[in-house]
């Protein structure tokens, strides 16, 4: 334990010295604060990222998203259930001719849903696949990079209960604006 006078010098009046001594004691009791790793440099993104639609289109967009998700989940299940381990396939679409399909394989014993995402027509860059709930980004399923002019086929994973979500979206890394939706 260090002596307070060694730290701040001797020319302190007794009243102030007494006050600072109590701070000194609290500092020694508290111990050092932990250092933050890079993963804690920013608050969690899933805290409230909202996919924004123009206000007048929000009811229509929400209804369309729910309907499309329900239909595509059903169709995807029927169409995609031909492979040996594929549970279902979900189609995704975006502007500018971008498209994608998400093949979901059988859930493993730990609760992971392995997936393979095929995307085409996206601009070069980094993207992330998210599960959505109620028009919000809910849980991430992984990130991937797209090279210019190439179709991509990337393995991803969703360690969640899929029934509690209503769709998937692909967003550019660091953005909340979807470029592909179910």
């Amino acid at each position: 334990m260090s002596d307070l006078r060694d730290l701040i010098g001797d020319d302190v009046d007794p009243e102030e010295l007494n006050r600072l001594q109590r701070v000194h004691t609290l500092l020694e009791q508290a111990g050092p604060p932990p250092s933050l790793s890079p993963s804690l440099a920013r608050p969690p993104a899933s805290g409230g990222d909202v996919i924004t639609f123009p206000r007048r289109y929000r009811p229509l967009a929400a209804a369309a998203a729910v309907a499309a998700a329900a239909v595509l989940f059903t169709v995807g299940y029927l169409v995609g259930n031909t492979g040996p381990s594929t549970e279902f396939t979900v189609a995704m679409s975006g502007s500018g001719g971008a498209s994608g399909s998400l093949e979901i394989y059988a859930k493993d014993h730990a609760g992971n849903w392995p997936m393979r995402l095929h995307v085409d027509g996206l601009a070069e860059g980094k993207y992330a696949l998210w599960l959505t709930r109620g028009g919000r980004l809910a849980e991430p399923c992984g990130s991937f990079a797209v090279a210019a002019g190439r179709a991509n086929n990337v393995p991803l994973n969703a360690p969640y209960k899929l029934r509690s979500f209503d769709g998937w979206v692909v967003v550019p890394s660091g953005s909340k604006q979807p470029v592909l939706t179910t």
Partner: protein, 204 residues
């Protein structure tokens, strides 16, 4: 010996010799920020994260021990803060106390969801260390002190951390930082005064 070496290798970066900057450009109170978070303000959320990430991680490490799980609990705490900010009532208590409760609840919930893996039955002996009341008191002191440290200008906070937890003498700190010994002591005293103001309730 190894511990001493490890501490010295993890020294805070030496601050420059320029004049001490303002504590923070954001002078809003914690209570004001929580109110803004309740309204969906991401910048307010980031400012609260800047102020409280280390205090939250500190109590998570005390409770959990494992660094990775403590970091998960810290993220859980801020996710919980985002969801529950609209339940904060400034007439019923201080913001820092409410945030402390949010953090403790999130950490306990995280422990329930992700129980610590065990490889064998625990020994049938009393747990060493402080009892629950002492542990809670210790957590609260750390919470308040670590939060108060975040209010200091960077240069003063660095000096406090060097003085209390690096194992350096004040002369060694002066050499490390590159400022006269008298300035080290003056700035340390200034830092302790700021902390005394910030920790007024804890000083009794």
């Amino acid at each position: 010996m190894d511990a001493a070496i490890a501490v010295r290798l993890d020294l805070p970066r030496a601050p420059g010799k320029a004049s001490i900057p303002q504590v923070s450009a954001d002078s809003r109170t914690d209570a004001e920020l929580i109110g803004l978070v309740a309204a969906g303000d991401h910048r307010a959320f980031e400012e609260l994260h800047r102020r409280y990430a280390r205090p939250v991680l500190g109590i998570a490490l005390r409770r959990i021990g494992d660094r990775g799980r403590a970091e998960d609990a810290t993220q859980d705490t801020f996710a919980s803060l985002w969801r529950s900010a609209n339940r904060f009532d400034p007439t019923r208590g201080k913001a820092t106390s409410w945030l402390f409760t949010v953090a403790r609840n999130a950490i306990v919930d995280g422990l329930r969801r992700r129980p610590e893996p065990t490889v064998e039955a625990p020994p049938d002996v009393p747990e060493p260390g402080p009892g629950p009341d002492d542990a809670a008191e210790s957590e609260w002191v750390s919470w308040r002190v670590h939060r108060a440290l975040e209010t200091l200008p960077d240069q003063e906070r660095t000096l406090v951390e060097l003085a209390y937890w690096s194992g350096f003498s004040q002369s060694e700190i002066a050499d490390h930082v590159g400022i006269p010994l008298g300035t080290v002591k003056t700035r340390t005293r200034s830092a302790l005064r700021r902390l005394a103001d910030e920790l007024g309730d804890e000083l009794g």
